[in-house]
Symmetry: C2
Subunit: 294 residues, 2 copies
């Protein structure tokens, strides 16, 4: 049995990511007490049924009392208000971290409300599925995936090291970078792909009824990969796009210019331009396979 990294962990929000982390803690640090906080009674009921926590509550201030690690795993739009509510209850020297997908906004909303006597270590496990809720989690979700930490210049290195150790226990590779850089990289690798998938699946649902049913029937040709992505949690993704607006719009602008160029090539029957583009993208896939992220 591992020596526990933390005595008492408060999970604020326990959906796909929060419940997967709870499973990791249960597996690797069975002595650690877990408190799960969620707004909806049926979520807490599921947490109890799945034995993912030792205590459950819908009051975030009660949840963090005595915790030496507090993990924000709610949609981003809940950070500021929840942060204000837990602030007075936070234990001296507690570590506060999060799993949100937009780090500049996590910092903007949490840093001003957290008391000076806690350590704030913003984080983002780059992992997920199209499913949501505590039933969907699994301990292996983070295995061989990146977890990106975006600590502030003043963050205590010991607090960073403890959060890092937790994610390494989950099987993640941990990287550290500035929050604004994280948000640009993720705008390209995650936010824009999701936006595009959401768009095209919506476009398909607006087709005339006869075409639409066939689009579903014959979706094996590429479309179904997009529908999987476009089935991701709507609240979480709404918050991501609102929060990472600048970076998403910048990447979207670049993408739209490229799409227009390919559209023009199609209209003109310019096969050479299409071929050159398609041959180039094939090599990126190979890089990703070499980087072991495929």
């Amino acid at each position: 049995m591992n020596k526990p990294l933390f005595e008492r962990v408060a999970l604020i929000g326990i959906g796909l990511i929060g419940s997967s982390l709870a499973r990791v803690i249960r597996r690797d640090f069975p002595e650690t007490k877990i408190v799960a906080c969620a707004r909806r009674p049926e979520t807490l009921e599921a947490v109890r049924r799945l034995n993912l926590a030792d205590e459950t509550t819908d009051d975030p201030a009660a949840a963090v009392a005595g915790a030496d690690l507090v993990v924000f795993a709610t949609p981003l739009s809940a950070y500021a208000e929840t942060g204000r509510r837990i602030a007075p209850a936070l234990r001296d020297g507690a570590i506060v971290t999060d799993v949100g997908s937009v780090k500049t906004i996590a910092i903007r909303d949490l840093k001003p409300v957290l008391p000076a006597h806690v350590h704030f270590v913003p984080g983002h496990p780059v992992a997920g599925t199209e499913h949501s809720g505590p039933e969907s989690g699994f301990a292996e979700l983070f295995h061989e995936r990146w977890c990106i930490l975006t600590p502030l210049p003043e963050t205590d290195p010991k607090a960073i090291a403890k959060v890092k150790a937790l994610w390494e226990s989950a099987g993640s590779r941990v990287a550290t970078m500035p929050a604004d850089h994280h948000d640009k990289v993720l705008a390209m690798t995650s936010h824009l792909p999701h936006l595009i998938a959401y768009t095209i699946v919506g476009t398909a649902t607006d087709l005339e009824e006869d075409l639409k049913s066939e689009v579903i029937a014959y979706s094996a040709g590429g479309f179904r990969d997009f529908t999987r992505i476009a089935a991701s949690d709507p609240t979480m993704w709404r918050d991501i796009f609102v929060a990472n607006r600048e970076a998403v719009l910048e990447m979207l602008q670049r993408y739209s210019e490229d799409l227009t160029a390919l559209q023009r090539a199609i209209r003109r029957g310019d096969g050479d331009t299409l071929y050159d583009w398609f041959a180039r993208t094939r090599t990126i896939r190979r890089s990703i396979i070499e980087a072991k992220q495929a």
Copy 2:
């Protein structure tokens, strides 16, 4: 052992699809003779090494001599010229089919050059992977996937039935529809998704060097699904976009309008519009799971 549907099958082109079909025929109809035709000597060498054919040749006219089934499995741009070359060598009553992704163009290019004494049954197995070449094929590729036939009004029903039986043996569900309708449905389910994936992966490769390497490293967040699609065969896809220009441009126009609407919602911080859109696309995924195409 099944009674052979065909005595002698000529596969004109033997990449991912052609070689998978060869494996199906080897498995289900071992008495059937297979002739494989390809331009490149290394392709024919691989076919012999893998024992996918009884005879190999780079001359399509020689390949079809005596065949009662001829399968076009080359890129679409080779159809017209190859059709002209094989026409004089086709046996009386032979069935000519194809596996191309754009049926109006397959008909436009092949119908005028084929002699009246053969039966033309255009077809499209809606299946594939991002890999190409005869080494990449496997007999299960078509299992539980659709194969769409787009016969002409004058096509002999007996010829259609034999092609249908071959694809059913491959494990496919076979549907029949007009060629122009097929091309519209596939523009949405397959061609547009590929165009979008090719675009965004290309956009990412144009990023500044430091961002680019991180896009590869952190691709787990959605991007890698796109890179898989964007690794598909460049020649085949160049031909598809040139051939299905009208339908692709129409679907692209609808998609671009929707993307602009979501872009506007992001710029204005209009979370309600985003949420409603994302919640709607989730239901399409459920339809696809119910249609057993996920």
